[in-house]
């Protein structure tokens, strides 16, 4: 590699198959964006199903959405946006080589993530109690009762709207897939925190932290779409 010795000396974190750091950085950045593209298509299949059924069964969607606890959904949205801010702070700390601050902001992010899971668990639990889980414990009578209870004042529900089980199926699959992505995020976060604690990153080299930030934002954005689509419509 005699021809490559210029101002770009071989940094310890440069992998041997890259010619220089710039190539490595650009490659990983392109890689992470392509990964995002496939993630969008992954959720895209669900959003397509959502769109079709919502057009087919507007009454079920209206009844289903009004049975949601908008307050809890709102709190969770704010919690997740907060965790996006905290992960930005972690990236910012990485840029300034502040290892303690990186760990602190990761911890805050995970804490907010845990709050999100807690609230989600309460919501899932309530649905389970009301026997609103399709396939597992669905009960027409209870479902009708719950929907009537939560219906807006000017709306009267006399029978179960057609497609209501589809609404709840999609609710559980979409929020479940979102939660699964958060669980994976937790795993990644612990791995990166361990690396940070060992001093693997510095102000010139912190791609894991930066790309984790991108991933976390992506997961947040999915929720930002899910919240209005499932709770507010």
């Amino acid at each position: 590699m005699s021809h490559a010795v210029t101002d770009t000396e071989h940094k310890p974190y440069q992998q041997h198959h890259f010619e220089n750091m710039e190539q490595q950085t650009q490659s990983t950045l392109l890689g992470i964006w392509l990964f995002m593209a496939q993630e969008i298509l992954f959720f895209g299949g669900l959003f397509a199903a959502y769109t079709i059924y919502r057009i087919l069964y507007p009454a079920a969607w209206a009844a289903g959405a009004s049975s949601q606890n908008v307050f809890l959904g709102m709190v969770n949205t704010i919690v997740l946006i907060g965790s996006s801010v905290s992960i930005v702070m972690a990236v910012h700390s990485a840029r300034h080589d502040d290892r303690k601050a990186i760990l602190k902001w990761f911890a805050v992010t995970l804490l907010l993530g845990t709050v999100f899971f807690g609230i989600k668990a309460i919501e899932y639990g309530t649905k389970w109690d009301h026997q609103l889980v399709p396939g597992l414990n669905w009960n027409n009578e209870h479902a009708l009762h719950t929907l009537q209870e939560h219906a807006p004042k000017n709306v009267e529900i006399t029978e179960l709207p057609k497609g209501i089980q589809i609404y709840y199926s999609l609710y559980f699959v979409m929020t479940g897939m979102h939660a699964l992505h958060m669980v994976i995020g937790f795993g990644l976060a612990f791995w990166i925190m361990a690396k940070t604690a060992k001093g693997r990153f510095n102000s010139e080299y912190y791609p894991h932290i930066e790309y984790f930030g991108l991933y976390w934002h992506f997961v947040d954005i999915v929720w930002i779409f899910l919240f209005p689509l499932l709770y507010l419509v």
Partner: protein
């Protein structure tokens, strides 16, 4: 395996002989060989299934298998061949081996991810194998709902999970290739100097990244529906089974381009080499790959002309399907024009390649028959469809795969195979293939539906021919297999460039290549397929 060769030069095969040096390797060339082993294994399973049900199909009544067993056999054949052979064959084996070599890189951009892709592939294969060993699955490779999600009494969850998992290996390989092709090209290797194999891999990778996640979520929904009772495709709960078909074909139609585009890439390489000419209309061939990838995303509805799709939607899908014919025809015309006044050598890879062009042409044109809505009503779900996609997938893709395997075999393993027997195998496969599938066009046109093993006696001559042809083709495949494997032990050393071909993998890398691919820095100063360049004729 590692007997001393005449050359003492170390290469990627000899650097490290332990099991873990293979299982934990991040070398793209070794990973390519590991794909070759895994894929050959799955191919043998899929081929065995075909051999068994072809035996049953020879006569019009049920002789050997019960209905249920027959259903499980053709499903197993379909799932294994599509998801574990056709899709990963060229990208997994040849793509992994060649993409970095052809562009002058030391490895793919993410070598560890590449190794992970192989493990994901094998894990998915294990799930599917488990589904087969535990009694199989009888839904057909398409997993249509509501049969798959509600009624089927077979291992849908296991097989579906297997396909779901394997999908991520395609996605990650595609991601790896796109980044590699964008960022890892050697100095001087401009986009318009890339071998057409690379263009084909690039187009394939785009489909992999944008299409595969959709089938992943779709199969996941089927698994949820089956295991938990969610109702997204269940009419009893208000779900729409046709939505499944839309989502399935949104991936699975582009997936046929995932299967065939890499084959196009192989054909361009082999054809240029054995015609000693630059590919005619290089730019057109390159961009037609991208055009196929793009248009291919908007034709899925032609699988559903008879599935309650609106006729206006059908009309549009039909027209768009014709449109795919244009870039495909551009390729065929350019290949034929390349042959014109070329100095043609009928080596084994070239026989496969010429066979590919003829068979793929038949497969492609019958595709246009099927894209015609009125004709489709008559031909839908008949043997005509079976013959059509086997002409494309086996006559096209498998022939291209074998062409590529023979062409780059000396580079991968450093040994020459027996040319005579390789040619014999190629010719037998070509004729066997036509005997197998040509009669199916006729049987299908006469109205024989697919997926039945007890059928009207008037179709028996066609099915009998088909069975005999299939065994004939099997003989050809065995000859090909034995020829290639025995070359590892008995073959003569290949030398750097046995075909006097252009391309970095032939001119700048040894056979087999060094662990780090190139021993001296790579710089590109010629166009692709410059067969007038004297340097390729100097053996070193």
């Amino acid at each position: 395996m590692n007997e001393p060769t005449s050359k003492p030069k170390p290469n990627y095969l000899t650097s490290g002989n332990t099991v873990s040096s293979w299982l934990l390797t991040v070398d793209h060339k070794r990973i390519g060989l590991m794909y070759l082993l895994g894929m050959t294994f799955f191919f043998l399973i899929g081929a065995t299934a075909a051999a068994l049900f072809r035996f049953e199909l020879a006569t019009h009544d049920a002789n050997v298998f019960a209905n249920d067993t027959y259903n499980r056999l053709f499903t197993m054949h379909g799932i294994i061949m599509v998801f574990f052979f056709l899709i990963p064959a060229v990208p997994g084996v040849l793509g992994n081996f060649l993409v970095p070599l052809m562009i002058g890189a030391k490895d793919v951009a993410f070598p560890r991810l590449n190794l992970a892709s192989w493990y994901i592939y094998m894990l998915g294969g294990t799930f599917t194998l488990a589904a087969i060993l535990l009694g199989g699955i009888d839904t057909g490779w398409t997993f249509y709902t509501p049969y798959s999600s509600v009624y089927a009494d077979s291992n849908v969850i296991l097989a579906g999970s297997g396909v779901f998992i394997t999908g991520f290996s395609s996605i990650l390989t595609g991601l790896n290739f796109i980044v590699t092709i964008h960022k890892m090209r050697a100095p001087g290797m401009t986009w318009m100097r890339l071998p057409l194999f690379i263009w084909a891999q690039y187009a394939t990778s785009i489909i992999n990244i944008l299409g595969t996640p959709v089938i992943a979520i779709t199969l996941l929904l089927v698994v949820f529906e089956r295991s938990l009772g969610f109702g997204i495709f269940d009419p009893q709960k208000g779900g729409d089974p046709v939505l499944y078909q839309h989502l399935f074909w949104f991936y699975s139609h582009p997936a046929v381009y995932i299967m065939i585009l890499p084959g196009f890439g192989v054909v361009s390489e082999v054809l240029a080499c054995f015609s000693r000419k630059r590919i005619y209309g290089y730019e057109f061939v390159a961009f037609s790959s991208l055009a196929i990838a793009a248009i291919g995303f908007f034709v899925w509805g032609h699988h559903m002309f008879t599935s309650s799709q609106s006729e206006y939607a059908g009309l549009i899908f039909s027209i768009l399907t014709y449109l795919v014919g244009i870039p495909t025809a551009i390729k065929i015309f350019n290949w034929v024009a390349t042959l014109y006044k070329g100095s043609i050598l009928l080596s084994a890879p070239m026989i496969y390649t010429l066979g590919f062009i003829g068979l793929f042409l038949v497969g492609g044109l019958t595709g246009l028959f099927l894209a015609t809505m009125a004709l489709n009503v008559h031909l839908h779900d008949t043997y005509f469809v079976v013959a059509h996609f086997h002409y494309v997938m086996v006559g096209g893709m498998m022939m291209a795969w074998l062409a590529g395997l023979h062409f780059w075999w000396p580079k991968m393993l450093g040994k020459m195979y027996n040319e005579f027997w390789a040619r014999v195998g190629a010719v037998i496969i070509f004729f066997g293939f036509n005997f197998t599938f040509y009669p199916q066009f006729i049987a299908g046109y006469m109205g024989m539906p697919r997926r039945y093993h007890v059928y009207d006696i008037e179709y028996q001559p066609f099915q009998m021919l088909s069975t005999v042809g299939a065994y004939f083709m099997g003989v050809g495949l065995i000859i090909c297999f034995v020829t290639l494997v025995s070359s590892i032990f008995k073959g003569k050393p290949a030398g750097k460039n046995p075909w006097k071909a252009t391309g970095l993998e032939w001119n700048q890398a040894d056979s087999p290549p060094d662990q780090h691919n190139f021993t001296s820095p790579v710089k590109v100063d010629v166009e692709a397929y410059d067969y007038t360049d004297e340097r390729i004729y100097q053996d070193t």
